[in-house]
Point group: C2
Chain length 464, copies 2
């Protein structure tokens, strides 16, 4: 006998939790589609040569390689002389997107708006809340040669719509701009590699405290003056509250280098468009401490946080980049995009009690009182299904109490019963486990009555 | 520069094909849910020890093993002395189901009805139409200790609903019963292992012809008499046409062993219930040549074929089994289920011209005539989205002809335009690329008008 268990670092859910997870996936997908994004799915296995274009690096250490039985034996025979296995599992959805766009470049219309919601794999050290297999939900817009900064404003509108519909609490989309950041640093005489190192120190403000960070920046290696440090600290602590404040805070930064001014102008335009898109101004804010993947992003960068749960960190991040697929094509493919790590988010929302076990996807349990009722129950089930209801038919008679108990535990709201008396009168009895009530309805009107109840519940949930 | 390409044996689709594929997935999922099946997803990686419980066998030869960079290096250093890698990719959804049910046995309600629609992995030899990564869409009902044969009748009702809604042509769910089969063989004095060997020969009838098969069965090794061979051939060629004919054909088989009679009685009951479920009688038929996984199935077995495309083979197969998870638990877990190999099916449907490139998931392209119109276009887009429409906003002004061309190529039906004249009158112009017409509508009524058009189209498609 082998102990049935999953590998460490994967999330596997019981059905009612899976339903809750699936509803989040559906909401995200529907919202992505509302904004005109098109679906893409790529294989989980890519050619190692294609996937691992950057040599070395933390990410490569975490790659999972794949070998069929035959290939594995051959490679072991040779003592591994073949080098890396031919195949590897994707570790994100960005490299597969780059490969996809470059491979299908001539079949795609640009700007290409794609969404992709699939699992990715990383050989992370096993620990609580860290996953080796997890869902990413990504959108990106890819331009050919150029991509208007106007797309940068549409992205936060998508993020806002996603998290409003997910209804997991108040959130703020925070953004910064790499040109503003780099321009500001340049203005202070901090150039090139030093920008990165200073940013890393500033990033430790919360953890180390202002004094320790000041000391490091003033010390050997950096050697920054007190005035420069003051300015850096002040800059990185800029947060806006509301639309007008965001514009005012940008103005208050004063004059800067041409690069700085360019970044500020782009941010102003993006703020204007967020207003035109009707994104509530409580939903977005400047946060000039955000840096994110400095090597990769070149324009706006986004992070999204739940207002009541800052400790969860960013639940949706991304930004603008200059060239998606330089390893695969000579075409210049700038883009902007974001990613939601849904497995980790779901885990944390459950942990914080913000998502619960969902009601069943089954709307109705059709109870069976005795064998004589089977044929009628089967026929009635099919009529309810044709009307659009999800129906489980009890195929073996059991005590009613058992059937109620089962429905209750499974999260099924309605139990429909039809005894001899009801049959004679052409009605059925419906027990509504949510409200703890029961009512009679003509069998011919049952589907309509249940659909009305379901709709009321959904619109009530939508308003809540 | 690295050539961007996918590994051999995977299916990767352009967006419009992906939309068509996604619609099939959605239809299947929705239908599974209509019948009260609950969603399960399992990790793509299982522990090798758990996954590979059966030693040897064809399937194991095709397993993909997974190793992180670190584990791979360690194993190569040791010259592979560690044995098999710790992790492997699932090759079907049945073994993961067995592991899942055994692992979560005490948290699940039985009979447990689950659906699972995920990709599986097999190191198949690369050839046209063979996939190393493919979707399976499975349903199973798992009982604890026992499971009523009544579930065997519900499964074909699900299959019928799935393929009716997929609308890929007329189809027939064919079934046989292992007890009928084994009982019949026993009655002819063919027992144990010999049943399997005879069945394999009968399975070659189409390919080798009746004479060659007769010769083999009469020859050394089998040594069956002419009369027995006649009966076997007649039995395996039984096909029913319609409900009454199925019952008549069962009757005409005459008396048999108790096992045979039991199988026949179960088939009769299943036929009754299919009628009660309202499954059209053209949709199901007896086919006593169906054997399927003899080691595994113990009761009814199903295959589904497209009437006009028999060469595609079975597009949905399965059956009843006695014990799902004997490797993982002492509990007896009988079940019944089916599987649709959607990647292969989609490939073959495309090949046969039965599924085409889908219309876009985008309902409306909001054209942009000049920069001055941007703010209004953004606001209008958001209103259309709030009404439930999928909208792509053109963010940079382009020539109208280009925008039409783009929408047409992308399969977007409606292009909405608003020039100065329209703005002054509070209307917009809608170009319907499907009908090749254009019309004006008050801006306030635009969302409603487009929703009506979309709905009409959908219900027309539903009727077609």
């Amino acid at each position: 006998m082998i102990k049935p268990r999953t590998p460490a670092g994967v999330m596997e859910l019981l059905p009612r939790d899976q339903i809750a997870f699936q509803r989040m996936l559906d909401t995200i997908r529907q919202t992505f589609e509302r904004f005109g994004f098109l679906p893409v799915e790529t294989p989980v296995m890519e050619l190692s040569e294609v996937l691992l274009t950057k040599s070395g690096g933390e990410t490569e250490r975490q790659v999972y390689f794949v070998q069929s039985t035959g290939a594995l034996e051959k490679s072991l025979d040779k003592g591994g002389a073949d080098g890396l296995p031919e195949l590897a599992l994707r570790f994100d959805l960005t490299v597969p997107l780059a490969r996809y766009v470059a491979e299908h470049e001539h079949d795609l219309a640009f700007p290409f708006r794609r969404y992709q919601m699939q699992r990715v794999y990383r050989g992370e050290r096993a620990q609580r809340g860290r996953f080796r297999e997890f869902y990413q939900c990504d959108i990106d817009v890819i331009g050919k040669d150029s991509l208007s900064p106007r797309f940068d404003a549409e992205i936060p509108a998508v993020i806002a719509a996603v998290f409003e519909r997910l209804a997991i609490g108040e959130f703020t989309i925070q953004f910064n701009h790499r040109k503003l950041l780099r321009g500001y640093f340049e203005g202070l005489g901090i150039e090139g590699e030093a920008q990165l190192l200073v940013l890393r120190e500033l990033d430790k403000l919360d953890k180390r405290g202002a004094d320790a960070v000041r000391e490091t920046l003033a010390g050997e290696g950096f050697g920054l003056g007190a005035e420069v440090i003051d300015k850096l600290m002040a800059f990185s602590q800029v947060r806006s509250h509301g639309h007008a404040d965001a514009l005012a805070k940008l103005d208050a930064l004063g004059a800067g280098t041409p690069l700085f001014d360019e970044g500020r102008e782009e941010l102003r335009t993006i703020l204007d468009q967020l207003k035109a898109l009707g994104v509530a101004e409580s939903r977005y804010a400047l946060n000039l401490s955000i840096a994110r993947g400095l090597d990769y992003y070149t324009g706006i960068v986004y992070e999204t946080t739940l207002d009541a749960y800052p400790q969860i960190g960013s639940i949706c991040s991304g930004g603008r980049y200059d060239n998606l697929a330089g390893h695969y094509t000579k075409s210049k493919l700038p883009g902007v995009g974001i990613s939601i790590g849904l497995t980790r988010l779901f885990y944390q929302l459950q942990d914080a009690g913000l998502v619960g076990t969902a009601d069943s996807s089954v709307d109705v349990l059709l109870a069976l009182l005795d064998d004589a009722g089977l044929a009628h129950a089967l026929a009635l089930s099919q009529r309810l299904r044709a009307a659009g209801l999800n129906v489980e038919t009890q195929l073996e008679p059991r005590k009613l109490a058992k059937q109620f108990q089962y429905a209750d535990k499974a999260g099924i709201r309605f139990v429909v019963m039809r005894g001899e008396d009801e049959a004679a009168r052409g009605v059925v009895t419906v027990k509504d486990l949510r409200r703890g009530e029961q009512f009679e309805v003509a069998e011919a009107e049952l589907a309509a009555a249940l659909l009305v109840e379901r709709e009321q519940l959904r619109s009530a949930a939508g308003k809540a």
